[in-house]
Amino acid sequence: MLQKIHRFDKRQCMVLILPVLALIVVAIGCDNQHYDERMQMRVQKLDSDLMNRWSTSGVVVTEITPNGPAAKAQLETGELISYVIAEYPIKTAGDFNDAMKKGLEEDNNLVLYLQDKPPLRIALRRQGDNVGFSVEGSGTVRVKAVVPGTPAANSNIQVGDIVEKIVDERKIYSLDDYKKTLAKLSKHQITFRTTELIGVKIAAVSALGDLGDVRAIEPLIDIFENSTELSLRKASISSLQRLVELSVLNDLFQQFQRANVNQLPADSLQPQHLEAAAILELLTVDRAENTATLAAPFGTQFRQRSEALYEKINEGQLAELVQEYIQITVEPEQEIRRACLTILGVLKPVSAIEALVAVLDNPAEIPGIRFQAGLTLSQIGEPAVDALIAAFESGDTGTKDIAASALGGIGGTKARDRLILALENTTEPAIQLTLVDAIAKIGDTPSMQALERQRAQYQADDDSGIRIFLDEVFKNLEHKSM
């Protein structure tokens, strides 16, 4: 009997409990979203680990009702609201005290605006904390007294200062926080401060560099030129660099594309391109099997994209742009100048020669970058010879050194003859060594004869650095020819 009653009770309970449970579940399910009637928009809770991973909190706007206040303020869906800011105009001493009290409701940031003075941040931690000054007046509110020894006294607040307004910045930690804050500030004009997750943009920029799609070029250039975030600019120039490096492999990828295959005999492809593509991990080369196989998924997909990318990059706009940014006066960030130089080295635009020589010849520039400019000029090759010779003739020791190296890298009769002439007429030891090195790099018969003449000249001089260096050079050459 007892048992029966028991069972009956249980069932009755269930009848009551189940709908309640169901309601709770529904309520919880919907509770990560909230429709804000005042703003006429829907906001959503953030993933709870965003705070830990990206130090970001707030709510995200998921929907905006047309013509509502949010829409009129041009808030956009997807924006992440991390602060709600209210302004309290101060017309009377009472306004001031009310604003202070309101600010103390939460552990918040109040910003005090005094006329003709920079804004001051007031940090109040608890109820009862003293601001350190008092105010008086109606219509115009002025500072009446400042309590000595308080932070207020140490800041720039002076008796007689006019208090204009107090701005209350409230950080939003959660959806509940948002709801509460908006309810409390229902009578005030509100400003939303939105946060950008810089990490997301950086990741997107890098990904666009990896994808090798032509559509990325203009947006990347736009960020590079206009963003105020250095990290983002750095990411965008290195993505552009990657796209440029990809674009020069177009010939190679077109061979695959035309044959509509992902594998070709390795010896049917240009060895230099093949090597470059292998370094970029776009394909794998098997010498024993004589195969070059595009790496999936990227290599195989890029086959279809490479031509458009190549054409876009060779329109010339990019080469022109980066020429500007190799100058230290335009771009203070050396990492970016370096990336721009690398891009020029790949694109080899003759139009960049003048700008490159200017970098090479700039004593204010760091030596590594001056040297890279020289290297870039030697990548451009023959057309840069005249400019390099001119730089060599007029420049300081540093310039001479770099220009000589670059000329050695380019080679050719003109460069060679000028280098030999210079070697025969210079007595500056540092330059001599560079010249010997550059001439040895060219290594044709007239070059070697010139070096032999130098060796004969310094034969007697035991301590001469140039003689030791020449011996070394010849030893290496013999070693190579063996």
Binding site: L46, P69, F298
Partner: protein
């Protein structure tokens, strides 16, 4: 006469057992010793033991464990017989002779070996068990292992399940999906990884749900960030129809996994990704938006 012949047979039997055990015992003794090239010599003994009794479980197992290609000249018969597959076959034969004992041993012991060849041989053996042996037993042992408190067991089980799932997603994926509800975070984590390795699109909805749970209100309903991160990686491994799911993460500005999703998509190289990435670049930067009082 009859008695004599019985006795003779007995003597022969005992002798037979004796010599067989002798080789096995000798081999095992060698392994324990610190003699030079002990493993190579032990393997010879195990082979002799098998010559005498082809279904000697222990000899099969030990041969699978120790027979290494390093002992032989490449491309010889002995060398071929020491391949991972052949070693796996031996381990499987050990299992066939003594199912319970060797199944447990393979899952909880052999897979833990530091030698990659041995791990692969064990995997090969377990794949054979899956296809030719007691599949139910195997799956129950693997589930026990992935729920284990020992990280090595969980890791090994995920590895095997991932491989099995590649060949037979219809059976394995539902098992792994169910494991996503397990109370132990590390078990769920390994189940997620296995789903990625299985690479079946059937796992996409379960992974998507898990990823979205980051914004759930109650902590109980939220999956741990590291598991969710791995779920994004798993979607990347699945590819194909998982791409739109990854794009959805990129587009969800409240998601903590946008960066992970972007990186995953970049590796996949799918052109469909370009648009959402460009959209992400267009997002409004930090700014103040004033909403006037009505």
């Amino acid at each position: 006469m009859k008695r004599v012949s019985i006795a003779f047979t007995l003597v022969l039997f005992v002798l037979g057992c004796g010599t067989q055990n002798e080789n096995l015992a000798k081999g095992k003794e060698l392994i324990k010793s610190d003699k030079r090239r002990k493993e190579e010599r032990a393997v010879r003994e195990f082979k002799l033991a098998l010559d005498q009794k082809t279904d000697n479980a222990e000899a099969h197992y030990l041969l699978g464990l120790y027979n290494s290609q390093e002992f032989y000249e490449p491309n010889t018969m002995d060398w071929e017989a020491a391949s991972v597959t052949e070693r796996g076959k031996h381990m499987f034969l050990a299992y066939q002779a003594e199912e319970r004992k060797y199944l447990e041993r393979l899952v909880f012991e052999t897979l833990r070996d530091d030698d990659l060849d041995i791990q692969n041989a064990a995997l090969d053996a377990l794949e054979r068990v899956y296809n030719q042996g007691d599949r139910k037993q195997l799956l129950s042992q693997l589930q026990k292992a992935i729920k284990s408190s020992d990280n090595r067991d969980r890791h090994n089980a995920h590895w095997v399940l991932g491989h099995l799932g590649k060949d037979d997603p219809n059976t394995i994926v539902p098992i792994l999906v169910k494991l996503l509800e397990h109370r132990r975070t590390e078990t769920r984590l390994n189940a997620v990884k296995a789903l990625g390795e299985a690479g079946s699109e059937a796992a996409i909805p379960a992974l998507a749900t898990l990823i979205e749970s980051g914004a759930a209100r109650s902590k109980r309903d939220r999956e741990e960030p590291e598991v969710r991160q791995l779920a994004v990686e798993a979607l990347g491994k699945i590819g194909g129809n998982a791409v739109p799911e990854l794009v959805k993460i990129v587009e969800n500005k409240g998601s903590s996994l946008r960066v992970d999703a972007i990186r995953t998509l970049a590796v996949l190289g799918d052109a469909k990704v370009v648009e959402p990435l460009l959209d992400a670049l267009q997002e409004q930067s930090n700014r103040d938006v004033v909403v006037p009082l009505n």
